[in-house]
Symmetry: C2
Subunit: 274 residues, 2 copies
Amino acid sequence: MPDEKEFLKQYRQDDYPRPSVTADIVAFMIRAQENDNYRLNSGTRLTLLLIRRGGHPFKDCWALPGGFLNPDETIEQCALREICEETAVKPVSLMSVGLFSEPDRDPRGWIISNAFVSVISEEKVKQQSGDDASDAQWFDIDFDRDDSGDFILTLSYRETVLRAVLAEESTSFGKTSFRIINSGGLAFDHARIIATALTALRSGAKDFEYIFDFLPETFTMTQLQNVQETIMNISVLPANFRRKVSALVEETDEFTRGAGHRPAKLYRRKNRKG
Amino acid sequence: MPDEKEFLKQYRQDDYPRPSVTADIVAFMIRAQENDNYRLNSGTRLTLLLIRRGGHPFKDCWALPGGFLNPDETIEQCALREICEETAVKPVSLMSVGLFSEPDRDPRGWIISNAFVSVISEEKVKQQSGDDASDAQWFDIDFDRDDSGDFILTLSYRETVLRAVLAEESTSFGKTSFRIINSGGLAFDHARIIATALTALRSGAKDFEYIFDFLPETFTMTQLQNVQETIMNISVLPANFRRKVSALVEETDEFTRGAGHRPAKLYRRKNRKG
DNA sequence: CAAATAGTGTCTCTAAGACAATATCAC
DNA sequence: GTGATATTGTCTTAGAGACACTATTTG
């Protein structure tokens, strides 16, 4: 009877079939919209990073950034590496939203993917400039129920509009899951991954998770409120919003200036463990 | 330039290294404790299913049930198949708690694992009897901070006591993560997986998720309260507990009988979408 | 002053926690 | 009646939402 050392020497992993494993990143950013009147606060839009595929399969379709897991890294490190490689921007947060493992989800073969929500601030994206002809673009997001109860996911960048249709699945428990009715031209099962990620983002934003990651180091209360309202697609009263987040932020001595109205105090996120 | 069909014919998956993928299941059950006085309600314990490994590596150590992903199934189907194979019990719920992908987590090589929380009712486990000499046993769980801030995970079944020590990691965001200081004799990184799963279970039990899955179809309010208290390791006032869950349950016409005290009305879980 | 946003005070309503009181069974 | 648990009522307090009001800037 062999001991453990002997066993490990003889162990052959090739005896079992193995899938390729990838990490896909659903990278969110909140963008301020153009504005003609300098005195008005600009509206904000939730956007999502898509990359146009240069090769087969789904050539010329838009897809999530992502790539194959290497043997020397964790799936989180892989996700971080891929998003940095493809955008030169380091996201602030990265949170897993599950493993997508339907055997036929990729026409190339058995390839399963762990999806991540990542949040990037507009500030960081601007620093990295990025030319307009690039194959990586931030798409405006709309995601809502239609009359029949299905979800419509609309992603738009200039004249390009992708419109996917999804049904809510009664999952075994807890997390809601989606089934693709129409992929809207998105590659693979990425419409489903995006819907799942968006649901996770909204669920987290409810108790103010992630919302700070969309903003620079210091920010105004109105900016913070805009982030939450944009993500959740709701609107709340400023007085009540302030009360609720007051425990999570601390004042600075700085104010905004030259906005054509009363200056706003800048706040900083309070250290959670302090 | 090849078209998509041509590309897929020529695509070779073997060009990239691939890991083996497994599903590990953290199966929880709440067990009523023995009682000498028939008039007293019995206390309850949270327990967890472990399997004694028959082969290398970690031969004779206790480990989570689980097994390799097949090419024709999703990871959820794999988890369900494995738990049924190893216990002949079909769990009520199954919820992913993340992918564990440290390259060196398995001495056999590159093997990554998706972990699941699963909940099984004592009723179902009893139906399946299960002989006492089996290599699968339900261990009592204790999980709490010690003075230095580390977490102590104690698993005990008769004279067998496994005691693991873990540190809380400051993770990128949201979910708390654990690092193993002492595995306590558990196989692989299973101490870490168990700690993560237990944290997810507690977090869900806060708003009454999962708690119904531990009980039979009909149950008393006291039983339901016991489930939550046992999971969260807290105690609440009956009046307040009733108020909070009242919207989630509906009455039946049945009562408990012969308990030596006032009979309790039996309730049923209310259909969530109704 | 007008336009526009920043920030405060306070009323109401609901939900959570604490606690007291009553109900019903087996023996 | 006694011991044990089941169930209801209500007081107090904390927080959420609504809304009115005041403050401060630029042109």
